[in-house]
Symmetry: C2
Subunit: 113 residues, 2 copies
């Protein structure tokens, strides 16, 4: 349950936008509806909804119907999975290779076709 499969492309790209990072911080504190979130930003509702969709595809948030609202909730497990990705870099840097090979091979398949 803890070992969440994470798409590095999507997660890092999702976190590269300040609005999306802010949304993540807000829903990690406590879940909120999309319109509640949208009220906090100087952009259209549709724009915020798109940001939420990007975060959802990256598994950084999940949505849950609650009446006619949609509760957006932060997914800390995905954040932790990203942290683990970074730990892999750390180990690489320390010169420890070992099982690293297959993990990185999976990631760089599309790089070196």
């Amino acid at each position: 349950m803890v070992a969440r499969q994470v798409d590095p492309d999507r997660v890092f790209a999702a976190l590269a936008d300040p609005t999306r990072r802010d949304i993540v911080t807000r829903v990690l504190r406590e879940p909120a509806s999309v319109s509640t979130l949208a009220a906090g930003y100087a952009m259209s509702f549709a724009a915020v909804q798109k940001h939420v969709a990007v975060l959802e595809r990256a598994a950084l948030v999940t949505k849950q119907r609650r009446g006619r609202e949609q509760l957006v909730r932060g997914e800390i497990d995905t954040v932790r999975a990203v942290g683990r990705l970074l730990d892999d870099y750390e180990e690489l840097w320390r010169g420890r290779i070992g099982r690293m090979e297959e993990l990185l091979a999976e990631d760089s398949r599309k790089d070196t076709p």
Copy 2:
């Protein structure tokens, strides 16, 4: 020296590309010249050079002249700084706020103008 200032936008965006992540893993293992790196990918030299430039702007790598070559070296401190950013999310999730306020305010200035 350890406390490296990191631009979340640039670092996350830089890490969102598989080729760039692969470059980072390679130069974290051991520094390499740009052309050596370029030889490993199925794209033009200029494309790889641009990727390296993006990584350099994000402070994920540094370049160092060595004769007519340019040694690209991975910057583990920046990776660690990103990890610390993620730790902030973790603390947020745990409900610990405190000094978090000013840290996040600095990050979300551009979000909520």
